[in-house]
Symmetry: C2
Subunit: 419 residues, 2 copies
Amino acid sequence: MKLEIVTIGTELLLGHTVDTNAAELGRALAAAGAEITRRTTVADRPEAIRSAVAEALERTGFVLTTGGLGPTRDDMTKTVVAELFGKRLVTDAKLLADIEARFRRMGRPMPAINRTQAEVPEGACVLPNPRGTAPGLWIEDARGRVAVLLPGVPREMRGLLVEEVLPRLARRDAGGGAGPPHVVLSRSVRTTGVSESALAERIGEIEAEIAPLTLAYLPSTDGVDLRLTAWGLELGDAERRLAAAAARLKERAGEHCYGEDGADLAAVVLDALRKQRRRLGVAESCTGGMVAERITNIPGSSDTFIGGVVAYADVIKTAALKVPLETIAAHGAVSEETVRAMAEGAQRLFSVDATIAVTGIAGPGGGTPEKPVGTVWLAARVHTDTRALHRVFPGDRDEIRRRSAQAALDLLRRLLAPG
Amino acid sequence: MKLEIVTIGTELLLGHTVDTNAAELGRALAAAGAEITRRTTVADRPEAIRSAVAEALERTGFVLTTGGLGPTRDDMTKTVVAELFGKRLVTDAKLLADIEARFRRMGRPMPAINRTQAEVPEGACVLPNPRGTAPGLWIEDARGRVAVLLPGVPREMRGLLVEEVLPRLARRDAGGGAGPPHVVLSRSVRTTGVSESALAERIGEIEAEIAPLTLAYLPSTDGVDLRLTAWGLELGDAERRLAAAAARLKERAGEHCYGEDGADLAAVVLDALRKQRRRLGVAESCTGGMVAERITNIPGSSDTFIGGVVAYADVIKTAALKVPLETIAAHGAVSEETVRAMAEGAQRLFSVDATIAVTGIAGPGGGTPEKPVGTVWLAARVHTDTRALHRVFPGDRDEIRRRSAQAALDLLRRLLAPG
C-alpha cells in the first residue's frame, strides 16, 4: 500500500521547528507495511494545503496530514480537505459536548473559537484524542480516496497514530485479501569509531550480493549507520534477506559494530555492565552532563548508574574528584594525566568499579596551537584497568560534545568486551 | 524570490533520520529573503528524484536539493539533475586532482568509485566543500532555471550554504535591481510555564490588529512560542511591523515571556546570573545531567557555571549533597523537603550562591498512586532564599525530563528577576 504524507506548518518551512513528526510517521507506517512514496511540507495557507493534498491524492489516493488542527487561529486543514472531498462541515454533537465538558472542568466559559473545533466533514470518522483538544479525522469518499488528518503536536500525533490509525490500516490490509502483504522494511547496523570511507573499504563491494536489498552509509555524530532496505517484498522474504545481509555487514564491521537499528550505545554499555555486575559513575568536564544524560535517558538505568559529577571548574576537579592540583598545573586540565585521575577519582567518589571521564575543549574559545578546539581526552576505567584515548574532533561546540560523549561510551564498551 | 527544497534520502522517508537540514535551510533562506513555497522529500531512487525535481522546477524555476552526493553507492542526484537539464557529465580536472591529493595524504590508493565524484554536469559551477568529499553544484540553464545540489551531511550542507549559496543568492537579488527586495521574515516571542489556551486568553484577539502579519501558537516541551510572520513585505516595513507586534505580545505574555526567537532559557539564566555576579551549581536526580548539559551547551558558560552533581542513587544525595538520610526516609526522594536539601547541599558543595535542584519520577517505572510518573519537585536557591515547585508533567520519559529541566531553569529565572 502506497501513501503520501503532507506536513503542514509555516514554522516547518521556515525551519523554526524540526519536523520530528515526519520521522515518527515514517517509521511507524513503514513498519506497518505502508510505502511512503513522498512527503511534502507546505505553509499554513489554504491554497498551499489544497494543492499539496490534491496532488498527493492524485498520485496515491491516500494522504496523511499533520498540523493545522490546533485550538488557535492557524487551524485550516479540516476546511480545505472537506472542500476537496466535496463534503460540508457539520457540528459533531459528541465532540461539542466533550469540549464543553472540558471547559466546565476548568471552570471557564467556552470561547466561541472552540465551537469550530467540533465541526467535522460530513461522514468523517472522528479519531478521539485524549491527549489534546483537536481530534484526528479519517475521511474517505465513494472513490476509495482517503485523507487522514492528525494534529501537529507530537505527543498527540503519536497517540492517534498508534491507537487509531495503525489498527485501521491493518484492518484495511486484511480486508484486501490478495495474498500476503508486501512491506518496506529496513534494518541498520550501527558502527562507531571508524570513518565512512574506512568502513566502506572493510565492507567492500557487497551491493550485488545483497540485491534486491539496497545499502546506504549514514554518517552522523554517533558514527556511521549501515542501512539495508527491502522494497515491496513479502514480509517473510524481506525479514530473511535483511537478517542474512545484516549478519554479513556485522561480521565485516567487526569490533566497530555496537548494535542494530535503534540501539543506543548508552543502553549497550549499561547491558554489558549489568552482565558483569558492575556499577557506573561518570566524571565530565567538556561534555557538561551529556554522558550522564545519555545514560539516564535509558529506562531502568538506576540499577547500574550511581551518579555523575560535572567538574566544569578546575576547583571541582580537585575538590570532588581529588585530581591533584599539581597534575593540572603540570599537564593542563585537558591531558592524559588529568583524565586518568578523573576516572580514578570518580571510582572513589561513587564507590563503583566502572567509570568514564571526559575532558576537552569544545570551543568556540579556549583553543591553542598545541591543543586546538576539538581536542578531547577520554578515559574508561574498570576495576584497576584504565584506558585513555586522545581525539581531535571536527565540528562546532555541539558536535564536538556529542562526538566526545559517544566516544567515551564506546571506550568503555570496548574495555568491557570479552577478550 | 520563490524556491522549493527537495531533500533526498530513503532514511528520511522511513523516519530513521530526522531532517534537520530542512529546518536549517528554511531558516537561512528565509532570512536571505527567499520564500520557500514547498519542501518535498523522496527516496534515493532516480525516478522519485527526477519527478520531484522536475515538478519543483516547473512551479518555481529554482530548486535546492540535499542528499544523494556521498562517496558511497547511494549517490544519484547529480546524474538525474544533469539529465533533466540536458547536460552530460564531464570530469572536472581540479576536482579529480583534489580527490587524488586527499588519498595521497592518507597514503592510500584511490578506489575507482571515487573517480565518479569528480564528474559534474557540463557547465555547472562547482561549490568547494572543504568539510567533506562531495562538492556542491550550481546548475543553471539558458531558460534561467537553477538547481543547487548540496550534500546531505549537515555539517557539509551548512558550510556550503553559508559560504557559497547565500552569497550567490544575494548577488542574484542585487542584479535584479527592481526596487527593494521583498522578504519572508519571522519573529518569535518565547513563553514558558503557561498553557497554550491560558496564553491565548491573555493575548486575546490580536490577529486583526497585527495583519498582514500572521500569528501561530507553537507548543513544545520548552513552552509555547508565539510566531509572527511577515510574508513578502519590503524589508524595512516587515521589520518595523514585526518589532511592534512582538512588543505587544511580550507585554501581554508578561512574566511568562523569557525571550525572543532562538533565545535559550539556559542562556537567559546565565546572563541574569552574570549581571548579579552570582555563580551557579546544580543538583539533579531525574533529569540525570540534562540541566547541566543545557547550561554547558552555552559557549562561555564556564565563567558562571561551576559544576553539577547527578545524584541518581539516594546514597549520592546523602554523601555528596548531605541530604539527611532521615529527610529521604520520612518524605521520600521525590519531595519538597528533599529538593530543598539538595539545593542547599549543592550550594555548599560548589561554594556558589545560586543553585538549581531537581528530583522526580521520569518513568516508565517508579510511579505510585500518590506520586505518579511525571511527579517532579524543583527548587531554585539564591543566597538564603529557596523557592520550591511541584509539577506533574505529561508525556514519556524524555518529555518529562525535558519539561523538568526547562521548568527548573525557569524557576531560577523568576527568582532572579528584579521585583
